[in-house]
Symmetry: C2
Subunit: 470 residues, 2 copies
């Protein structure tokens, strides 16, 4: 899990003068070269540019380095996020443009010393949760290529899972920053909408889009969040309030976690994942949590609005014009989903927004009973061949526990929680009300057995695996 | 201005046992009978029901009365607000239905002892600011029937202006709770959206609709607001937070008020209104305010979205079906406005919502420089004959200073501020960020010369008139 590129290890190497940014860059490029997972990247940055950046970092004096919390940390970004002077494809070569300005969130990370390596593969226009809908090839799952990598931020998740970079950015509208984390056994943080600026990100559903963070451990995800967050005049949907302080119970134990009633849980026949979920709940109980069964119906109905409601039309705002001009440039499934948006009129949007407001109230009533909600991130893994047979059904399965979160203005973190006997990872999601991000990170650190920020302990998933399959 | 039915006077009469609710009811009915303004009411409540309610109140003991802050206070509600077992017409007899449940906000007032007298005339479906678009006849202006009464809450404003009731409820989406206050020389309070439940109100643009309060003085409007506000499980758009505490500067002086740059002000050639506006600004300075010129452009652009953008389609959600079924039942102008909504597709709504978010940011930057924004409520009065010649232009003039407020999530209070030499009232609006309602009321009390809540002093408009025309 926590590979050699995690922040604590890399920072220690830099502090010990055990590595220079250029050496780390060469290691990273060697790892990328050696990695057997296919179709992770749309493109690496040009070699000369990478070298220039690494050397500029290496030339810094100790005082300057000390002010850069991400000094020399290699990272990747999904290819719907702008980096000035490089192409942004959003998974569609014909759509590609050369960005004139770097996305705010990337600029903040670079200003903190992080070292961008490349742009990662994705489901075209961030539409899909499977990771197979890319003209650059279906991104391989990091554990077993018979399974999908999850999407739409497939390459960003796999790059971290394969320890090619320390962390990466994806985006998340329906679960694109959490589903691929679960598919590949890493941490995926979907912060409260608006905490991370989306200026310079190709919109999917702009009112719901979030930048997401993939990392090898919870501490790293939290670290990157704190550096990247903040209001942005370039993004009128950014929030100008920070996350809330952590609730005492999540630090100390004595917290309540909600779990969907058993009849609302879906594992699609995967008994091992079901057992791993129960083991994760018991682990939460063992660290001071009390389980509360909640009514999952309003969450599910809210989630269904995303693809069975007028929000599909929101995708037309960003790519509708392109779709009209070059329909053949868009993958058939992607096109079909986005074109569905044309069937909705303006009144339908207002009507659906009222319905969503009512569902938010119902969901809030349930959330008021607990500190966090806990679900599986995905009920089971999906085979690539299943996607070919039933592409939309596969997508729906993957989004069952994720697609309501952004609509309900919640935040969520996807965490590894053991492995099936075939080695495929299981994962849970912790979900909180808006601005509860620090609650999530605090509980996730404890769940993962990471003693404190910067801890390099291996996460506790082996314990869980033993409990279930041992 | 502050007629015999204002709250302080009526409360004193009840306290002195100088009147019973039944006697007040008879007085009110006598006033209504004698009132020369035409088309104020859609219907009074049946006489027997009125009498029953008044007698029930009269039968209460002193202890019970003491718990009812609106004991025996007569009020009226606009006929798009439900009162159980009576028809709600929304200004369209063919649309009328018998309400099965009383609107939450009316129920709260009745629970506080208020005595509902009747349902008032309005622009059909609350669409319009003129007060002439009603099949029940154009509601007369309270001062001079050559001028429009303003709308859409025309009857509610005129009922208060003619001292037929102590206060009344209207609704406000584009200014319907402020424009008729200015047209008739009374106070109109448009609270922050969601403070007053809209459950049981026929929607215009439900995401923007507010219940508004008309009163004879500021203290009464504030009094009614505090009694009627609060979260409501029946209304998912209601807010569950109270208004903010009053900023010190508004109590004590030392506050800043924003005024649109002079080139953005519109008086349509009405030099007296222009002079009265300047006099009102000088009065604000005399009570400790400092004038700050602000950029009015983002406010105006936001306002233009309401009728020249997809929000017209929001009106279809509530009445679109009826419009399809019985187009001939809807007034031609009203129908034309609402039918415009059919031209917008779903993507247009999302695009306009992004634009609004950007404009909100720009408006917030301006509002951050001041405590309140001050504008005329209407630039000048509109003659009924002008409406017949150019109905849409007349409507736009009336909404110039009001229609951005709800879109920008602001609150506002319309206040009398002197009279023209022909006796027609002039008025200003104080406008504040969301939940700044108590700021507005505090400053308005001082501006109006009402010493404290419950004060019965005559407002200071005569001073202003003297300063300008004297």
């Amino acid at each position: 899990m926590a590979g050699t590129l995690n922040l604590a290890r890399l920072r220690r190497r830099y502090a010990d003068e055990d590595a220079t940014p250029e050496e780390v860059l060469r290691e990273v490029l060697g790892r990328i070269e050696a990695c057997t997972a296919q179709h992770v990247w749309v493109d690496l940055l040009p070699h000369d540019d990478l070298l220039l950046r690494a050397r500029a970092l290496g030339a810094m004096g100790a005082a300057q380095r000390a002010e850069l919390p991400l000094f020399g940390i290699p990272f990747a970004v999904k290819d719907n996020i702008d980096v000035a002077s490089y192409p942004t494809t959003a998974g569609c070569p014909e759509f590609a443009y050369t960005a004139s300005r770097t996305a705010t969130v990337v600029a903040r990370l670079e200003a903190a010393g992080a070292m961008l390596i490349g742009k990662t593969n994705m489901d075209q226009f961030a539409t899909g949760l499977v990771g197979t809908r890319s003209p650059y090839g279906a991104c391989d799952n990091a554990v077993d290529p018979a399974y999908v990598s999850g999407g739409s931020s497939s390459g960003s998740a796999v790059a971290v899972a394969c320890d090619l970079v320390s962390f990466s950015l994806g985006t998340d509208t329906a679960g694109s920053g959490r589903v691929p984390a679960a598919c590949n056994g890493i941490v995926g943080l979907k912060p409260t909408r608006g905490l991370l600026s989306t200026a310079g990100v190709v919109p999917a559903c702009r009112s719901l889009d979030c930048v997401a963070i993939f990392a090898q451990c919870v501490a790293d995800a939290g670290n990157v969040l704190e550096i990247a967050l903040g209001p942005d005049p370039r993004d009128p949907l950014s929030r100008d309030v920070p996350p809330l302080p952590v609730r005492a119970g999540l630090h100390e134990g004595g917290f309540y976690f909600g779990v969907p009633a058993v009849e609302a849980l879906r594992f699609y026949g995967d008994a091992e994942s079901q057992a791993l979920f129960e083991a994760a709940l018991q682990r939460l109980e063992s660290i001071g949590g009390r389980r509360v069964e909640i009514d999952f119906a309003p969450f599910l109905e809210a989630g269904s609005l995303l693809y069975d409601g007028p929000w599909v039309a929101e995708r037309l705002v960003a790519v509708g014009h392109f779709l009209m001009q070059q329909p053949e440039a868009v993958l058939p499934h992607t096109r079909a989903i986005i074109e569905d948006g044309m069937a909705y009129d303006a009144a339908a949007v207002f009507g659906a927004q009222y319905r969503l407001a009512a569902l938010r109230r119902k969901a809030e009533e349930q959330m008021a009973r607990v500190d966090v909600l806990v679900t599986p991130t995905i009920g089971t893994h999906v085979r690539r061949e299943d996607v070919e047979i039933e592409p939309l059904a596969a997508n729906r399965r993957l989004g069952y526990y994720t697609q309501f979160v952004n609509l309900l203005d919640q935040c969520a973190i996807a965490l590894p929680a053991g492995k099936r006997s075939d080695g495929m990872p299981f994962g849970i999601s912790l979900i909180a009300p808006p601005l509860g991000d620090r609650d999530l990170l605090t509980l996730a650190l404890r769940f993962a057995g990471e003693a404190s920020e910067g801890a390099v302990d291996e996460p506790a998933d082996d314990d869980i695996q033993l409990a279930v399959v041992g």
